[in-house]
């Protein structure tokens, strides 16, 4: 990479971090919102996935146990009573799975809608800045790439922090009576699967955003720059 290109890359990266710092008040509000939503959604997802895994495994084991008997065997009724008794306990786990889904859906929806409006408002407020940058020779593509990367870097950091916080929150919740101990052994694998899903989703979102970059271009930069008096 020659020095001019290196300087341009450094300038681009500095712009991204500088943009986050310069608009820190707006980003702080957005950050708190995303953090709360991500902790709620991620911890609910971990508990929900763990509960589902736990319930499915119990159901499979119970079914396998029952299949070892026929209706005419002497131990069949005893086994059936035992399974029905266990099922009452596992109903709590099943309801934990459904409650988790409700929290994910509600927090997730509110979070996405609010995030959309915050991002839209931020771009509207910076429309003048976009016009100025265009007038000094920056291309629309460059300007919107800078904005997109600003949002992406910031949101990624917040969601990562939310993920770590969610894991600790789940560990704390497991020590209470709210979540049955039996779920404990499933939470690590659920958290791992979730981390993988979040990472893949993020990469996909980034690719889509990069492909959509031209869609964000404003048609008339002239109108972005101050009013005539």
């Amino acid at each position: 990479m020659n020095s001019k290109k290196f300087n341009k890359v450094c300038f681009f990266l500095t712009n991204i971090l500088g943009g986050i710092f310069r608009h820190r008040q707006r980003y702080l509000f957005m950050g708190i919102l995303i953090f709360v939503v991500s902790v709620a959604v991620i911890s609910s997802l971990i508990i929900s996935l763990s509960a589902k895994e736990c319930y499915d495994e119990w159901e499979k084991n119970a079914s396998d146990k029952l299949n070892e008997y026929t209706v005419y065997d002497s131990g069949y009724e005893e086994m059936l009573i035992q399974i029905n008794t266990e099922k009452e306990d596992y109903k709590k786990i099943e309801s934990l799975y459904h409650s988790g889904n409700i929290i994910i859906l509600s927090f997730g929806s509110i979070g996405i809608v609010t995030l959309f409006f915050v991002v839209k408002m931020t771009i509207n407020e910076r429309i003048r800045e976009i016009g100025i940058l265009y007038s000094i020779g920056m291309s629309m593509k460059y300007i919107f790439m800078t904005l997109l990367w600003e949002f992406t870097v910031f949101i990624s950091c917040v969601i990562f922090t939310g993920f770590i916080t969610a894991i600790f929150s789940v560990k704390i919740l497991l020590r209470t009576d709210f979540i049955p101990d039996v779920i404990n052994k499933y939470t690590a694998s659920s958290a791992g699967v979730l981390a993988g899903v979040i990472a893949v989703t993020f990469v996909l979102i980034l690719v889509i955003l990069l492909m959509l970059q031209y869609k964000f271009a404003v048609t008339s930069p002239v109108r972005m720059i101050g009013d005539r008096k």
């Binding site: 020095s3 310069r22 016009g131 100025i132 007038s135 291309s139 002239v222 101050g226 005539r228």
Partner: protein, 188 residues
């Protein structure tokens, strides 16, 4: 200097000259190049390297200091940080505001902000400066200061096309074009 009443098309003409807008008809040849053949990316590059803009409403980025505002055009073109800062400081000194380099636009008067905007326009040594009513928001004394600065830039070799409706800014050495309803009516 382009003169005319409000709404006659002065700013539109300036925006076309600065590749910020597209003409609906006609030919625009800049420095021997037919601009119709240029792509949008090429026009943007051209604008960054050869043209400086000065607007009536100042248009400084409020969250950047004077020095940061001025070095912005250089950063995009791959100039190193140390060279950008040197050039920006020299340009700030040229407009008489080296003591304001770390101040934000909100800390400066209208005249000072306009001088920073002019410094940003000249920092990359453009061939042409397009000024859209640069003294429109300023008082008489400050307006005269800005005009003296623009004249010194012009004497140093940079072409300046300025749009205004203030006839008192015309001097005997000014090339003047009058516009009415999108057309030029008089040229002196």
């Amino acid at each position: 200097m382009i003169l005319g009443q409000s709404g006659c098309g002065k700013s539109t003409l300036l925006n076309i000259l600065g590749f910020m807008d597209h003409p609906t008809s006609g030919t625009y040849i800049f420095n021997g190049i037919d601009t119709a053949a240029l792509t949008d990316e090429q026009k943007t590059l051209f604008r960054g390297e050869t043209i400086g803009f000065v607007f009536q409403s100042l248009n400084l980025i409020a969250t950047m200091t004077a020095l940061e505002n001025i070095e912005l055009p250089l950063g995009y073109r791959g100039v190193s940080k140390s060279k950008r800062l040197d050039t920006a400081r020299q340009t700030l000194e040229r407009v008489g505001l080296s003591h304001r380099q770390d101040h934000y636009p909100s800390d400066m008067s209208g005249g000072e902000q306009q001088r920073v905007a002019i410094a940003r326009a000249i920092v990359s040594n453009p061939l042409l400066i397009l000024a859209d009513e640069p003294t429109g928001n300023l008082d008489r004394y400050t307006a005269e200061e800005i005009m003296r600065l623009l004249k010194s830039i012009n004497r140093a070799g940079t072409t300046i096309i300025m749009v205004t409706h203030d006839e008192s800014l015309i001097t005997e050495n000014t090339h003047t074009i009058r516009m009415q309803k999108g057309e030029t009516t008089q040229e002196k």
